[in-house]
Each structure stands twice: as structure tokens, then as C-alpha cells.
């Protein structure tokens, strides 16, 4: 069961990365305009 000693921290670490990424996306306003994001893809000009 020694394998648990690094598998569990690894699983937790991956989970924390996911949580961190979500909180980052939330703070930078990625969810403020969900419908607009779908339409912005259609415009050609990059910037």
C-alpha cells in the first residue's frame, strides 16, 4: 500500500489545480458573457 503515499497526494494535487483554474477563470470574468463568447468565435479578425 506504499503506492497510496504518492497516489493520493497526486490525486489531491490534480484536484487542487482544477479548483485553482476554475477560481481563476471566475475571477477574470470568463463566465460573465456566455452567449457572447459563442458568437465572438464567428468574427474573423483577431483583435
Amino acid at each position: 500500500m506504499i503506492v497510496l503515499l504518492y497516489l493520493i497526494p497526486l490525486a489531491l494535487g490534480l484536484g487542487l489545480v482544477g479548483l485553482g483554474a476554475f477560481l481563476w477563470s471566475l475571477r477574470t470574468g470568463q463566465y460573465d458573457d456566455l452567449e457572447g463568447a459563442a458568437l465572438r468565435v464567428l468574427s474573423d479578425d483577431d483583435l
Binding site: M1, L4, I8, L12, G15, L26, L34, G36, L42, D45
Partner: protein, 729 residues
């Protein structure tokens, strides 16, 4: 007259030397619009940032301080082809946005913890036989390490609310939730210390996750209605012409007016604030204020109210009350009284909570006592009692109503109804009587030209095109009939009389009967007349309040829903009678003052009826606040809209029918969901009381009941076409 527009009220100063303004934009409905607005604005020198939010149809603009005037932004948008209205977001949205972000963060933390704890729990369940006790303890300790801080963070919305309720001496749904979660975590820690086989970390944290889903949906729904209502109030915000000290006239948003300001009100404009006429004479239409369709003549010294329409002459107005204060003192008093009466209404969710908490706590206490008497150790009795609290934690109950409300408000939005309050759905569903106001509600907000049979279409077209050059409200009604939207060149308006232009080398005049030298035709008692002369050809058009196109059909369909339909109008009885006859409504009354309307509603409620009031005027506002449920058309005065439970869009009456049918369907599903949750408890509680619940059973039971309730809520569906009961069979 060249005028400057002063919008400084809406500008926010940022720390980095830029100014920012938020605007509600009309007509943004495709990807092209986003691009056109953003790139168009960025070409204006000085503007550093422009970002369209498509979801709530808003635009955020930033510019270097001093480089651009806020009015230039509105003007630039107008050049691109979009009408935009600035608003102050913090005034519209309050701190709802911050609260909502906090809920999402809690949801994310609970979700992360639930997934990881579940990962460990599944290992324990799966390896139950060949896992050594030491490994199991290790997994339990790691679970505790994740679950305890996560619950302390993500449980804040519930703990805080439960604490406030307890301090106020009451019990709400959050009390059993907080108790259940805390006890489950505490018990699990004790069990883990004692090397026991079961720990409930996964149950506690999954529970929090589901409950937060329900709480977030509830919140998102309130925010969505608030955002839509905020846009509406920005779109409706009118401009006023204010005299500055140097005698210049400046256009300012109505929100910036203060008592004592002097305003210029031209013919065809709405009076922007309550005030006293300081100069000039005119006729004003107060139908939005009192429901009266006859116009009133006003001269210097007369008091007039916001929302009245100036018909004939230019007025100078001294503001006595502006913004939030713009209303009659007695109407305000009536509203306050009426609102106090309505706040006694108890929501379905609150009634369920009041029933639920004592039952659950009694059941848990009885279980503990029962097992103590039956013989096993005190430890076992307490463990079983806590498992009862865990399994009854109101997961499904917390989702039962918010999920239906969210789906229903989406369906209502598609049908053109915007809700002011979530629980309005319940009240719409309970209505058994509908009381309509007449002016602006059953009839269209703007008068229409009644084209008499035998009118020469070419003459009508000429008159309508000439009407495009006039600001007079009667002319505006006529102008709507014009096929060609290009005004005649060289048209001149003579204030108070009419417009004249040369058409095909012959003089044409449109205006009062005297101005056009024509005689009135008979049978025009309830209409206003506008005359047209082109050389020797003359015509007289009757402009009157027209019924909404589908009014008769909708009233018939509503009657098919077993609703009693009535009219209570502030207009003269002679004007109400033909409308009531056309719609087949026998119970109608006219000439009512606001207090009379309230008295009539009180009489109906005393009969045990639940009244849905539909009205638009300032005179309806107290009645809208007093009625069990209320709806206002979008054209209504702000005060009426603020008091109504919902606002409906468009020129049709059909949204009223949709509001009732969708609300009834939703109410049925809400009750069904509550029963589903109750059935789940009826099955789960005996199992828990018998001491048979393991963490695995708790996890499966709670998740499946929550998913079931959510799926059931989706059955609210979309709005269906209006039809009466007979047609549906």
C-alpha cells in the same frame, strides 16, 4: 436649437486616469453587432476599451479622462445604428453580483471536496473486506483533512443564515441543514478516532454541494430578473430639457433632476417630473397617471405629474419632486399600506420549511430515545440518531422549488413576461380572478388612427407622410400609417395648429379642423380628430384608443381557465362601456380613483378571491401593490412596473395568458417535487431509524432524489400557443 447632453451622472472614474460608463444597448442580436459596436467605438480617438456583454445586452466603455465626452459615446453608437442608454450598474444590481460570485466559489470548493472525498470513500466501500484497518483509518483521516476546511468555507451561506434565524428566535430551512452537516462531520471525526468502520465525510460534503446548487439557482434567477428589469429601466429612462443658470437649455437624464430645476417641455414630450407650470399654456393627456383619456388644459400655476403627455403648447415647468419622489403623496401612502398587507404572504418553500424542521428534529430525538431504551450502547443510539438527521437533510427539498422557478422564469421570458419576484409564479398560479385596467392595458398604449371605410388610400398616405414632420401626438399616431417613411421636404409646423407643406405644387395642411378649414363628421364622441386638406380634397381622421389585437381572444381563453374577468378603470364610464362590450366582460366599473380601486380589490379578497391585477398607470400602482399578484405592460409608468410582480412586453395581451398557464404548470410541478421529496423521506427515514443506513446508502439515496427532482422541474417546458379550453379538447 443645438443642445448639449450631460451624462456625467453615469461616469465612473478609475484610478489609472480613465473614465468608464455602462450602457444598455438596444438591437444587439448577432455576432456582427458585437463586432460593429466594438470596432466602431475603438475608432473614436480617446476610447481605449469597448466590450459588449451579449448575455445581458450591455456595453462597457472606457476612455482617457477628458478625451471624450460621455454624450459622444452615445452619439457614436447612434451613428453606427444602435440606441444606447447609460445607467449606473451599482444602483441597478446592488451587491447581488458579489453575492453570486461568493456562492459560485463556495460551490467550486464543495464540488472539489466532494469529488476527492468520494474518491477515497469509494475505495473504502470497494475494499471493505481486504483493506487493513490502518489503511481505512488513513483514508478517513485524509477525507477529514479535505472535508473539514471545505465545509467550513462552503457552509458559510447556510451557517450564517441559520444563526441569524436562531438569534431572531425562528427556525428556517438552514437550521436543520447546518445541524445535520455539523453533526455528521463531528460524528465522523469521533468515529475515525475510534477506528470505526463508517465515516460520513462524503455525505456531509456532497450534501453541501447539492444544497449550494439549489441556493445558486435561486440566486441566479433573482439576478436574471433584476438584470432584465435594470435594462428596462435604463431603456425607458427619458431625457429632460433643463434650463441652466445662463439660460441655455441642456438635455439631462431624468435621474439627474432635482427639485427647483426649471424644465422645458415641448409638445409631444412626456412630462419628466412632477412640477408646477411656470409659463406657457397647453393641453396635457394624463391617461398614464389617472386613466382619464380626456385632455386637461393647463396654464401657469397648475400642478402636473410625471408621465403626462404634453399635447399642444410649450411649457416651462418648475420641478417640485423628481426621481424616486415623483408621485402623489397619497398614492405613496396607499402603496405602503398595500405592500404591508401583501408581505404577509408565505412562500411555499417557507411553509414547507416550517413544517419540516420540527418533524425531522423530533424524529431524530425519538430515534435516540428509542434505541437507548431498546438496549444498545449510548454510542450506537447517538450514531443512529445522527444518521437520521443526515438522511433527512433537505437536499431534494432545497432543489424542489428553485429548479422549477428557474425553468419557469426561462419559459416566461420566452413568452415575453419578465418577473420582478421569484415567488410571483406561485401567486400567478393561485389567481382565480383577473382585474384589468382599461387604458394602456386592454387598449394599446398609443392611440391608433381609425381609418373609416371609403377613405381614399392615396389621401391617407399623403396625410401620413406629412404627419412625419409633426411632433404632435395625434400626428404621431397618423404617421404610423405611412408606407413611405420619407418626410416631405420644406414642411413647416405652426405650433398649436398643424403642419403645412407643398405636395405636387399644391399646399397640403394637417392639423386642427379650423387650420384645415373642414367640418367634423358625426359619431366621433370618444375620439380625437385630426384634419387633412390637400387642395380641394379633405379628410378627417379619428384617433382613438384601440384594443390590443388579440384582446378578445385572450380574454376568452382566460375565461376558459375558469378565471373571473373584470375591468376597473379610472376613465369615464362612457369610454369603458364599448371596450367591455367588445370583450364580453359584464363586470366593469369606470371613473374609479386609486382608493376606489383598492376598495374594490379589498371587497374581492374579502369574498375569498385571489386577484391578479393587470394595469399600467400611476393610478393603478396602489392596486398593483395590493392585489394578490400583478402584471404591468412595458409601456407602464415606472412606479407601476416597480410595484408589479411581472412586466410583459410587446403589443399583445397573450403574455397574460402565458403567465397564468406557465405559473399553474410550475406550481403543480413544485408541489409534485415537494411530494417526491417527502416520499423519499418516508422511505429513507424508517431505514435510518432501523439503524440500517451506511454511508453508501446515504450517498446513493441523496443523490438520486436530487437528480429526480431536478429532472421533474425540466417538464415545465416552453410556452404553448394561446387557446381556449374547448380548442384544446
Amino acid at each position: 436649437m443645438s443642445e448639449t447632453l450631460d451624462l456625467s451622472l453615469f461616469v465612473r472614474r478609475a484610478g489609472d486616469g480613465t473614465d468608464h460608463m455602462d450602457l444598455a444597448v438596444e438591437g444587439v442580436n448577432c455576432a456582427g453587432c458585437i463586432r460593429k459596436i466594438e470596432s466602431g467605438l475603438k475608432q473614436v480617438p480617446g476610447i481605449v476599451d469597448a466590450r459588449v456583454n451579449f448575455t445581458n445586452r450591455r456595453l462597457a466603455v472606457g476612455w482617457r479622462h477628458g478625451a471624450v465626452r460621455p454624450a459622444d459615446v452615445v452619439e457614436a453608437l447612434a451613428r453606427i445604428g444602435y440606441r444606447a442608454y447609460p445607467f449606473a450598474p451599482e444602483r441597478v444590481d446592488g451587491d447581488e453580483a458579489a453575492q453570486s460570485r461568493f456562492l459560485v466559489r463556495c460551490l467550486a470548493v464543495a464540488g472539489f471536496a466532494a469529488m476527492n472525498v468520494m474518491l477515497l470513500s469509494v475505495s473504502v466501500w470497494a475494499g471493505a473486506t481486504d483493506m487493513t484497518p490502518e489503511t481505512r483509518d488513513l483514508l478517513h483521516w485524509i477525507s477529514a483533512l479535505i472535508a473539514l476546511p471545505a465545509a467550513a468555507y462552503a457552509g458559510q451561506p447556510f451557517f450564517g443564515s441559520a444563526w441569524r434565524a436562531l438569534r431572531a428566535g425562528g427556525v428556517n430551512m438552514d437550521v436543520p441543514i447546518s445541524l445535520g452537516v455539523t453533526l455528521a462531520l463531528g460524528l465522523s471525526v469521533v468515529e475515525t478516532i475510534n477506528h470505526a468502520e463508517h465515516a460520513y465525510f462524503d455525505s456531509a460534503i456532497t450534501l453541501l454541494f447539492f444544497l449550494l446548487c439549489g441556493r445558486y439557482l435561486d440566486h441566479a434567477m433573482r439576478r436574471r430578473t433584476r438584470a432584465a428589469a435594470g435594462n428596462l429601466s435604463a431603456l425607458k429612462a427619458d431625457l429632460a430639457h433643463r434650463f441652466e443658470r445662463n439660460g441655455e437649455v441642456v438635455k439631462v437624464p431624468v435621474a439627474a433632476l432635482k427639485p427647483g430645476d426649471r424644465l422645458l417641455v415641448r409638445p409631444g414630450e412626456r412630462v419628466p417630473a412632477d412640477g408646477i407650470v411656470a409659463g406657457g399654456a397647453s393641453e396635457i393627456d394624463e391617461s398614464l397617471v389617472t386613466g382619464e383619456t380626456l385632455r386637461r388644459a393647463v396654464t401657469a400655476g397648475a400642478a402636473i405629474h410625471a408621465g403626462s403627455l404634453n399635447y399642444a403648447g410649450t411649457l416651462t415647468l418648475r420641478v417640485t419632486a423628481a426621481g424616486e419622489d415623483t408621485l402623489l403623496a397619497d398614492i405613496e401612502r396607499l402603496i405602503e399600506k398595500a405592500t404591508a398587507a401583501k408581505s404577509r404572504y408565505r412562500r411555499l418553500a417557507d411553509r414547507a420549511a416550517r413544517l419540516y424542521a420540527p418533524v425531522v428534529h423530533t424524529a431524530a430525538a425519538l430515534t435516540a430515545i428509542g434505541w437507548l431504551l431498546a438496549g444498545p450502547s449510548a454510542h450506537d443510539a447517538i450514531v443512529i440518531a445522527i444518521s437520521v438527521l443526515i438522511i433527512t437533510c433537505p437536499c431534494a427539498l432545497a432543489l424542489a422549488i428553485p429548479t422549477v422557478q428557474v425553468v419557469a422564469s426561462g419559459a416566461l421570458f420566452k413568452a415575453g413576461v419578465i418577473l420582478n419576484a421569484g415567488e410571483a409564479i406561485e401567486r400567478f398560479a393561485q389567481a382565480d380572478t383577473i382585474v384589468f385596467d382599461k387604458t394602456g392595458t386592454l387598449t394599446l398604449p398609443e392611440p391608433r388612427v381609425d381609418v373609416a371605410a371609403g377613405t381614399d388610400p392615396a389621401l391617407l398616405e399623403c396625410a401620413a407622410r406629412l404627419a412625419l414632420s409633426s411632433r404632435h401626438p395625434l400626428a404621431a399616431a397618423l404617421a404610423r400609417e405611412a408606407g413611405d417613411r420619407v418626410p416631405y421636404p420644406g414642411a413647416t409646423e405652426e405650433p398649436g395648429l398643424g403642419v403645412a407643406a407643398m405636395i405636387d405644387g399644391v399646399e397640403a395642411r394637417l392639423g386642427s379642423l379650423a387650420f384645415c378649414d373642414t367640418a367634423a363628421t358625426p359619431d366621433t364622441a370618444d375620439a380625437s380628430l385630426i384634419a387633412f386638406r390637400h387642395g380641394a380634397h379633405t379628410a378627417v381622421f379619428a384617433v382613438r384608443q384601440a384594443l390590443r389585437a388579440d384582446a378578445a381572444e385572450v380574454v376568452a381563453a382566460l375565461r376558459g381557465l375558469k378565471l373571473d374577468i373584470r375591468i376597473l378603470s379610472g376613465d369615464r364610464p362612457e369610454a369603458v362601456a364599448p371596450i367591455a362590450t367588445a370583450l364580453g366582460i359584464h363586470d366593469w366599473r369606470g371613473g374609479l380613483k386609486p382608493a376606489d380601486k383598492i376598495a374594490a380589490l379589498a371587497a374581492l379578497e374579502a369574498d375569498g378571491r385571489k386577484v391578479l391585477m393587470v394595469g399600467d398607470g400611476l393610478n393603478d400602482a396602489p392596486a398593483l401593490a395590493a392585489a394578490h399578484a400583478s402584471l404591468s405592460p412595458i409601456s407602464a409608468v415606472d412606479l407601476a412596473q416597480a410595484r408589479a410582480d411581472g412586466i410583459f412586453l410587446g403589443e399583445r395581451l397573450a403574455p397574460v395568458w402565458h403567465a397564468v398557464t406557465i405559473a399553474r404548470r410550475s406550481h403543480r410541478l413544485m408541489r409534485q417535487n415537494l411530494w417526491l421529496a417527502a416520499t423519499y423521506n418516508a422511505v429513507a427515514v424508517p431505514v435510518a431509524v432501523a439503524g440500517l443506513v451506511t454511508p453508501l446508502i446515504a450517498a446513493v439515496a441523496m443523490s438520486s432524489s436530487s437528480v429526480l427532482v431536478t429532472l421533474n422541474a425540466l417538464r415545465v417546458g416552453r410556452p404553448r400557443p394561446v387557446m381556449s379550453q374547448e380548442e384544446r379538447r
